[in-house]
Symmetry: C2
Subunit: 461 residues, 2 copies
């Protein structure tokens, strides 16, 4: 079995530090809490219950997903309508494993459909995507567990209307795939009424933990991504973590424990900074997983998305010169997807760049990653180094599962429920109220009052 | 003169709060410091000196930029090589003002060249862009003030070698535009030796304040963006701010004062959350401007990039349920670029979505923005509401200049220099050392020692 990941954490501690420092024995002191959290996570009583369903995804049968993928692959373009967990996972997987300008390639170069995600309620999204596709050769994928997500359903209603107008309802239905709860909700009722294609998003799987369910895998499969390998990586990771019963052999315990302890020491941000373009969207996916799972009861560290080496020219000044309020994870892909040798410098005016000539550009990126980690460590800032051998489907699957386990364990240490999101309800009710939805009149009134307070002081130019 | 922006800040205060609350009189107490900061910023002694040059950009002569733009526009594709301030401003302006899938449109639909930015040292970037262009019909723009930025020069050397191989040096030179210091540095020497096209980046203008210089404007002009209007918006904004000598009429003073005061109250993050797809990259540009300008001497609030409504499904749980450690700015575009009416619901299964039918989707987005701001305000979290009438070149120019002034003033309140970036030097030296560059042997040794400490504890799976 080839390696999935390596975590180096010697500089997560600062033995000589003041009250804000952390020692190995502090982490050892958390081992009991970590063991308890792990036991809770893997308890047979919780298995398959609300929120815990993602733990079973590595063992799920993928035949219906792969079948749907084969059908989807026969189209010229796929439009996936979904938001949050119904979009970020797909953006993450496709950015990691497809050509960076997939949609600009020819069909022959791509070997699979173009892929568009319509997530936001800015009309620009749906409109621009619609202008780029031929409805007759397009499949529409709509993803919402409840079927009532406002942005998703608004975009779906508009795109669906367009499909029906162009093709007639019965032809349009042949190009539709609905991914929703297997039993409940509007979209499931719609599937039953229309007898159209659908895949289940198990009700026990929360949106932000759903990338290895049909939500993330159906389109990925159509795009030529090896979804079996994604799942296999997650399965290997799960088996490894489940069988690692001591702190020193369990990278998820170490990661969760350190994030918890540093938060209690006043480091209220978790910076994730991969050095690989293909992992840029991974940090967006991580930000939802981390922020929405942990931000409860006044607790929760804020996920900060970064990308090396770009953010050396944007955020590293703050990381080194600013307050000691962050725990850093620098991520590296040992063998990058592409290689490129920097040519030797021949022009005398550029002679001082001679040190670059003949180097692999990836070696420079690696030197930069190490230099950033070393700089942070030498300043006494806590830093973790996370390395994966390659950015392939198997390692990505492992990494996804790893971060899901780390997040759930950290939530348990925070004594919050990492699988709910009660804090988004108020905003939804205010929105309904402002849009005049029946039954939300009181919310509308309250939101107007709160907004009036915002506008009580104004200046313009 | 039409409005540039409106700032509502009544909920930036919490009069009933504990020691972490803030009152209007706290802000009034900062008026003197703000007036001093403004005087420093606009002092004739500082005008045109190191770091202050961006204040003169709104009055600069654009004829050479527009001329370069006309020449660039005759190509099929533009590749801009630059990183940080030599890339983020271009990504911001083009995302705000061009079609979201500009490069996927036909030449007729676009009416201008395709546009690619190669910034990172991940070989995937340069390689994938190179595979998409025809060198004979491509212009290469290289941007580096010093000419020694490692990532930029490595990408340039590789792409330049490719151009020369394909076309021969003299034809390749006809397709090259260098944007660099008017006097100093490697690239200026290269321009002199090769007698190729160039535009100046004044040495007094820092990278992160350079979007309204040729760095941001040359390619923008070629892409059909009204660079005169961008500049005009900045000029109008500057005149307004320069002539607003009291707290209540100066939105930049209010913004800077509030960010400073909330930082002193323990809110170490500044969240910028626009509700418009076209402003997603604006938050990336802001993050560099804010983070790199303010993160010094142990001070500096961390910029947190968000996008409404997407991050309601990712970050709002944390914003509402997590710690009170953020100052929020919710941004809205009154009149969105596109409009779209959500169709009435006809299927009985979807009846509970009837409240959406017939609404402008933009009105829903607006309701969501107000609901998020109202929710934060009703929880006592400090929130600012920033509104621009439209996302056009003039308003964008005004917004850019506004944020530059706010950042500089905030830096002065923090008693740091908002125009330098001393903290990135160590990482550069470590990188040079790790790459074996002559003269950096000691740095190489130190970085290896620091890295050894990181790797002193490891776990893998």
């Amino acid at each position: 079995m080839q390696q999935l990941l390596k975590l180096s954490y010697g500089a997560a501690f600062n033995e000589d530090s003041d009250a804000r420092g952390l020692t190995w024995s502090d982490l050892e002191g958390a081992e009991g809490a970590l063991r308890d959290a792990d036991r809770w996570l893997r308890s047979p009583d919780n298995r398959g219950t609300e929120g815990f369903g993602w733990l079973d995804l590595p063992e799920a049968d993928l035949s219906s997903v792969i079948e749907a993928g084969q059908w989807l692959a026969s189209h010229d373009a796929l439009i996936q309508v979904g938001i949050g967990g119904s979009a970020l996972g797909n953006l993450m997987v496709t950015q990691a494993l497809l050509h960076p300008a997939h949609n600009e390639l020819t069909r022959g170069e791509r070997g699979s459909p173009r892929f568009y995600v319509v997530d936001n309620a800015d009309p620009q999204g749906a409109k621009s995507v619609w202008s780029l596709v031929d409805p007759a050769r397009t499949a529409l994928i709509v993803v919402s567990k409840s079927g009532s997500t406002a942005e998703t359903m608004a975009n779906f209603l508009w795109l669906w209307e367009g499909m029906k107008k162009e093709l007639g309802e019965s032809e349009a239905l042949k190009r539709l795939l609905v991914i929703t709860d297997p039993e409940k909700g509007l979209l499931r009722a719609f599937v039953r009424a229309k007898a159209c294609r659908s895949l289940p998003l198990p009700s026990s799987v929360g949106g932000r933990y759903s990338v290895l369910s049909p939500v993330g895998l159906a389109a990925s499969s159509a795009l030529g991504i090896d979804v079996m390998a994604l799942q296999e990586g997650a399965r290997e990771m799960d088996r490894h973590l489940a069988s690692s019963s001591s702190l020193e052999e369990n990278p998820a315990w170490i990661m969760a424990g350190l994030h918890w302890l540093h938060f209690t020491k006043g480091r209220n941000m978790a910076v994730l900074m991969p050095y690989a373009d293909g992992l840029a969207s991974f940090t967006e996916w991580f930000a939802q997983l981390w922020g929405e799972s942990l931000g409860k009861k006044g607790k929760g560290s804020t996920p900060v998305r970064a990308l090396g080496a770009i953010d050396q020219h944007s955020q590293v000044q703050l990381y080194t010169g600013g307050p000691d309020d962050k725990l850093f994870t620098i991520m590296r892909v040992t063998e990058l997807t592409e290689t490129l040798v920097i040519p030797a410098v021949s022009d005398p005016e550029l002679e001082s760049l001679a040190y670059l000539g003949g180097h692999e550009m990836g070696a420079m990126l690696h030197a930069e990653a190490r230099a950033t980690a070393a700089t942070l460590a030498s300043l006494g800032r806590p830093v973790l180094w996370l390395e994966i051998p390659r950015l392939d489907a198997r390692r990505l699957g492992g990494l996804i599962h790893f971060y899901q386990v780390v997040t759930a364990l950290t939530g348990r240490l925070f004594a919050i429920n990492p699988f709910d999101q009660p804090g988004v309800e108020q905003g939804k009710r205010f929105t309904y109220g402002l849009m005049g939805r029946q039954g939300f009149e009181e919310d509308g009134k309250q939101s107007l009052e709160a907004f009036a307070r915002i506008e009580a002081r104004r200046v313009s130019c």
